[in-house]
Structures are given as structure tokens and as C-alpha cells.
């Protein structure tokens, strides 16, 4: 018996040392897990499942990616876990939402910041749009701003919460138009904020482009403007805020992508950064994303690093006044 145990221990030792000495050429050798900090069925979870569905293909990672949901407190629970407890071995990936986690880290009370994570690649960009109910008297952003100027602080409009893209867009609008607005954060996320607009509880709302597009197809809302640098392929007829004379950039666009915890070995980061974007380009993935009304925007690791840094700068300035 003793001999057996000793032999097993020896075997185990050689296996681990072998893996260590062998470097990371064979990565990945087992299935990978990806943490999503929102609940099953939400937009981030839904898209994460689609973009990772081809991970097991031979031309991709060759190993499947399993989604693990850690929802709570607007994503803070999942990202706290990812920054402090996730193993930095390349087998634990996480989904990020910009500007959410950067805005939360500026606000404080969380255990992460942009420096706690290493981006791998970006898969999607969902801009914020301004929506009003289908029977609303507003037909353009200038109608909205004129109303707000005539009734300071009385233009109620909904969004998915504080320190998320919608809130950033609201702050930008206030600043660019020089008016005081009444932003009403909703505790049920984008869906709740959209319901408030359709039911007439508020005069307008900031919402995700993908959800607003669907609501417009259903005949419930009008979309007045896109908070992005360019018009979107899904809504070629809707002008950007900039076109309508408001100096607003893409700081509120909800970028979604894949990251790993700080401390993950560089060769593994490089390998993932090389393969993951090609996985997103797969035709089946693109088809499913398009069918679901989810705008794709593939970015490499270097582009994402640049975007994170730029975003942190803008958000610090915007949120400084709060």
C-alpha cells in the first residue's frame, strides 16, 4: 500500500513538473471557464454564449469554453471575484463590460480597477440611444433639449442604473446641451427602463441600441439619436448626437469582450490574444449575433488596451463632478 501511495505521489510530481517545464505550447489542455458577471439570459450572457460556441473547433482553441454566471450588484460581485479569487492560469477567462467596471472602480467600493485585468479581445459594441414612446411629441434631440430648457430639471428619462453606459450618456447630454435633466435609474436594468418609456412613466429614456431596435420593430418607440461617433448598421436612418449638434463621443458605448486576471503568464495571454479574435470572426458566430440584433465590433488586444486607457481618462473627468 505504502509503495502504491509513493508511486502515485511520484507520478503526480512528474506530471506537475512536466506541465511546468513544458511551458505553455500545449495550452489549452483542458476545457476553459468564462465568468460572466450578469445573470443567465441577459444580453451579456446571451452574447458570451454565442461568441464562445466555436471555441472547441480545431482551428480555434480546440477546447470548449463553459460559461459560469456570477451575477450581483451590477456586475460588482463577479468582477470582485475575478480580480481577487480567480486563478491566473489562462483557464479562467472573464467577460468585461466597458464603461461599467471602469466607472464602478472610479466610484469606489470595489476591489478592482482597469489595472487588475488583462484584455484579450473585444467582440461587441452596443451604443446607447435616446428613445421616446411612439406617440411622443418629440421628434428629434433638439425637441427634447428645447423642452428641457423650458422646464429645467423636469425632463424625466430612464436608464439601466447609475455608473453604467446609460448614465454616462445622460451626463454627456447634460454637459453638451447645457441643461439640467432628471435621470431616473431603473433597478430592473435596460428592460425595466424600456418599460418605463413605453408605459409613459417617463418622457424618454437612454437604452441599448439592440433592445431599442427591437422595441421599434414592435412599434412601441421612436429612436431619436445614437450616442456614438458613426451611425449604426442596424439603424442607418437615425442620426448620431454629434450630427444633431451635440458634442458627444462614444464614451457611453457598451463594449463587451474577454479578459484574464492580472498575473496570467504572458505566453498564454499572447496565444489567447491571437486565437480569440479569429474565433469571433467565425461565420456561424456572426450569423447568430446578427439574427439576435447584437452589433459586433471585433478588436484586438492592443486596440482594447488603448480603448480602456482612453475610457478611463474620459470617465474620470465626467464623474469628477458627482
Amino acid at each position: 500500500m505504502k509503495k502504491l501511495v509513493a508511486a502515485a505521489a511520484m507520478g503526480l510530481m512528474t506530471m506537475t513538473t512536466g506541465a511546468l517545464a513544458g511551458g505553455h505550447e500545449n495550452f489549452p489542455e483542458r476545457p476553459i471557464m468564462m465568468m460572466v458577471s450578469y445573470g443567465a439570459g441577459g444580453a451579456t450572457d446571451f452574447q458570451a454564449r454565442i461568441v464562445t460556441m466555436t471555441a472547441g473547433n480545431e482551428d480555434a482553441l480546440g477546447m470548449p469554453i463553459a460559461i459560469i454566471n456570477k451575477p450581483g450588484a451590477g456586475g460588482r460581485v463577479g468582477w470582485n471575484w475575478f480580480a481577487t479569487q480567480a486563478e491566473a492560469d489562462g483557464y479562467t477567462l472573464g467577460a468585461y463590460n466597458i464603461p461599467h467596471f471602469i466607472a464602478q472602480s472610479i466610484e469606489g467600493g470595489v476591489e478592482y480597477s482597469a489595472d487588475s485585468f488583462e484584455p484579450i479581445a473585444n467582440w461587441g459594441a452596443d451604443p446607447a440611444v435616446f428613445v421616446v414612446a411612439a406617440d411622443s411629441e418629440f421628434n428629434s434631440m433638439s425637441d427634447v433639449v428645447d423642452y428641457a430648457k423650458a422646464n429645467p430639471g423636469q425632463l424625466t428619462f430612464s436608464g439601466a442604473g447609475l455608473f453604467v453606459g446609460h448614465h454616462i450618456a445622460a451626463l454627456q447630454l447634460e454637459k453638451a446641451a447645457g441643461v439640467k435633466l432628471a435621470y431616473i435609474p431603473n433597478n430592473k436594468g435596460g428592460a425595466g427602463a424600456m418599460k418605463a418609456v413605453i408605459a409613459g412613466e417617463v418622457l424618454g429614456g437612454v437604452n441599448n441600441l439592440s433592445d431599442a431596435f427591437r422595441a421599434r420593430e414592435a412599434g412601441n418607440v421612436k429612436i431619436l439619436g445614437v450616442f456614438d461617433l458613426e451611425r449604426n448598421d442596424f439603424l442607418p436612418d437615425v442620426p448620431t448626437l454629434k450630427e444633431q449638434g451635440f458634442d458627444i463621443d462614444n464614451a457611453s458605448v457598451n463594449f463587451r469582450g474577454v479578459m484574464v486576471p492580472k498575473g496570467t503568464p504572458q505566453p498564454i495571454i499572447d496565444k489567447l490574444a491571437e486565437i480569440v479574435p479569429t474565433m469571433f470572426e467565425n461565420g456561424r458566430v456572426a450569423g447568430k449575433m446578427k439574427a439576435g440584433g447584437s452589433p459586433m465590433h471585433i478588436m484586438t488586444r492592443d486596440e482594447v488596451l488603448e480603448m480602456w486607457a482612453a475610457r478611463e481618462q474620459t470617465l474620470k473627468e465626467l464623474l469628477a463632478g458627482l
Binding site: G39, A40, G41, G42, D45, F46, R49, I50, M53, I68, N69, K70, P71, G72, A73, G74, R76, V77, N80, W81, Q104, E107, G109, G153, Q154, L155, T156, G161, L162, F163, A182, I184, P185, N186, N187, K188, A191, G192, M194, K195, A196, I198, A199, G200, E201, V202, R214, A215, E217, A218, G219, N220, K288, K290, A291, G292, G293
Partner: protein, 509 residues
Amino acid sequence: MEFLAYFGDVFTPINFGLLLIGTIGGLILGATPGLSPTMAVALLIPFTFRLEPAQGLILLGAAYTSTVAGGAVSAILLKIPGAPANIATTLDGHTMAQKGQGARALQLSFLASAVGGVFGVLLLIFLTPVLAQWALAFGPSHLFWLAILGVTVIGSLDSSSVVKGLLSGCIGLWLATIGFDDIMGAQRFIFHSSVSGGINVIPALIGLFAIPQVITMFAKGRKSLDAEVLTVERHPIKDAFREVFSRTRALTIGTLSGSIIGLIPGVGGQIAGLVAYDQSKKMSSESEKFGTGHSEGVIAAESANNAMVGPSLVPLLTLSIPGSPTAAVLLGGLLIHGIFPGSDLFDNYPDVAWTFINSMLVGQILMCIFGLYVAGLAAKVAQVPNAVMAAVVLGLAVFGSYSVQNSMGDVYVMMALGTGMYFLERFGFSAAPLVLGLILGPIAEANFIQGSMIANATSSVGQYFFTGALNLTLITIVVASIAYSAWMELRSRRYTTKDDAIEKEEALS
């Protein structure tokens, strides 16, 4: 009558096969503590990637209906409500099971579920456009008053004492404040990282109901072997039919309040069962029997939580707004096939929409048949010796809490709350009001804050919360509900001494 044209599609071999798989699988998943309907549906989404849209939805719809009903199995036999919808079922159902009437309780619950469920789906078929407007009518001020109405139920839910019921409701309200607050993101009472996301309702439910029972079983040790001498009464299905349909009052109240409450986005499923239970208790001529294994309690609770299934999909199917977490998951199932709910769904994909709705109708019946079939067998669980039972329940409790968010933190929360509840129960407090406080706290708070933000921007708080027909109606019901409880309290002073509580505890276990 458009839906009749698509009935044939439900019975093609593949579709019907999927319906069977969804129903049976859903019953099993639903009976597993911690696997709520939302999670069961989310788990099945990847399987629908390769199916046709209608087939995928049949699978998801069948799983949704039968997990809601399957939750009654663990609620009745193990006293672990699988989801908030089943809390009210434990109150009388588990007591019946302990008396050896588990088979009867299960049969009643499946029959009542089917009646409620069929009614709910029929509402979805015939009244969707009307109901959609009704669902939108509830703004922040109305949801606030609705939550307050729920709070008034707390006092009368505990059969031993109004004061103790209210006290444990307050503990629940306090627990609900832990974590980041929903709207402002402020941190409250976060003393450990496992509660930073707040107290999740499902681990709390499992802990509060199952753990005190496990401790009691262990405490008894091998001294009493009563579980083994307990005879499980056989109960003919025919009698169950007769009983369900003779309890028309409970059945009607359950079905109606379930359908109405299920329709309101964001509140629905969680409190439908409890409100129906409370209402039928107040209206019943035998209200003192509630909580002692009375069939009306099971019938009202179960007909309500299945009646909610159909109407809860109305906002999703017509307005493209998911009104509940489960509806949000179903939305993902539709989007993956490029189908947008709303007018697009009924105009361009009527085959998908109506086949889905019809399959839920057929699913309710199938669920009832399978449920009745297993009821007799499942009730034998009551004969399992205490020691074994305690271990099994504890194992399921840990598994169920962990699986909600893959987090050990939830397991600690479950154990801590459960241990605390054991001592509270010794002093005559009960778990149901506490859980209700935990569920209603965030609803009342978030809607009050949102409502007052809107009110401050447009009119005044007083005007926003106290004018309008719907607000006034809800306030009237709140006042009536409190007055009724107060009157009942004065008429027959109910209070429990420690001795009574222990006596009751011993009589039950």
C-alpha cells in the same frame, strides 16, 4: 380562434417528443431544490441552438410550466421550497406529508396547478392585447403600494401571533437591505464578501425552511423511530379530483389572483402563491385550519403559481419587454433564431407563436398526468428514517444553494440563516413572513425611490403617490387588509407562549 389552426403542429412526432422531454425533465429539475424555473430554462437554451424555432420554444415552454409545478414536490415532501413561488405550498403541504398524506397533497397540488395553468394560458390566448395594457398600467407608485399590500399579508401569515409575524417580517426587510442598493449603488451592511451581492432569495429560502428541520431531526437522534412506523396513506386519484373541484373558493381565488399578479412585470411569480394563500385563508369558513395540513391552502397556493405562467409571458410576447427573469431567458431563446417578440412574432411567425402557446396548454395536462403518476411513489419519501432523511436534505440544501450562482458564499448564507431560524422557531417565529419581507423589501424600496425621483422632477410626492384611480384602489385594499387583520386579532386574541410553540413543534415532528 387562430390558435386552433396550429394545434396539429404540437402533435408531430418530434414536437410531441420534445414536449414530453421538457415536461418530464422539468418536473425532475423543478423537484431539485435550488434549480428554479429561470435556471432550468437557461440550462436548456444551448440545446435549442440546433432546433427549429418552434421546437426550441416547445422545449423551453414545457420546462417552464413543469418546473413551476415540480417545485411543489420538494416543498411538500422535504419542506424545501424550490423557488419563491412554492413557499405557500410548504405551509399546509408539508404538514399533510408529515401526517402520511403526502400522496394526497401531491395529487391536489398537481391538479390545482393544471387548473390554474390552463386558465392562465387561455388568458394568454384570448386576452393578450387587453392584458398588455393592464401590465403597463403599473408604474412605480402602484408597485410600491402593491409591495405594501404584500407587507400587510405578513402579519396574518403566521398563524401563532401577529406580533411575531410582523417581527420576523422586519428581520426579512432588514436582510433585504444588505449589499449594494439597487438604484444608488450604496453599500449597506457588507461585513463579508459573500454578502456583497445581497442575500439571494433562493439560498435564503432553502436555509430558512430546510435547516431548522435538519437540526430538529438530528437532535432527536435515534430515540424516536416514528418516521418508520408512519404509514403513507394511499389516496385514489378520483378522490383528489373530487376534492379539488369541491374546493371552488380556494381554486377560484388562487387562479384569479395568480393570473392578475402574474401579469405585473417584476413582481409576479414570487408573491402570487403567498397572496393567494392569504386571501383564501381570510375568506375561508375554516380559516383556523390553515397551517395544519388543510387542503385549501395547497390548492390556493399551487393554482396561483401555475396560473401566473401564461400571463407572465404577455409583456414579452406583445411588447417585447421581459416581465420576469424567466421571460428574459425565453427572450434569448427567441433571439437566437432571429425572431423578435412583438407584432413581428404574431404577424410573421404565427406558426412559431401559436405552436409555442398551444404546447404550453398541452404541457399543463401532460405535467398533471405525470405528476399524478409519481405522486403515490414520491410520497413514500416520508417513510425514510430521520437520520438518512436529514443527511439527504442537508446535501440537497448545500447543492441547491451553491448551484444558484456557483458561489460558496451562498452556502454560508444558507447555513447561517438556517441556524438562526432554528432558534427563532423555538420562540414561535416562522420562516414564511421573513422570506416575504426579504422579497418585498427591494420592490418597495426601489419603486419608492424611483417614484419619488419622478415626482420631484414633475409634480409633488404626495400627488404622485396618492392620486389616480389605481393608487387609490390599492390604498383602499391595503387599509381594508390591515383593518381585517386587526379585527380578527381583537376578536380572538392569538398569542403563543413558549410552551405552546414547543408543543406545536412536537406535535408536528
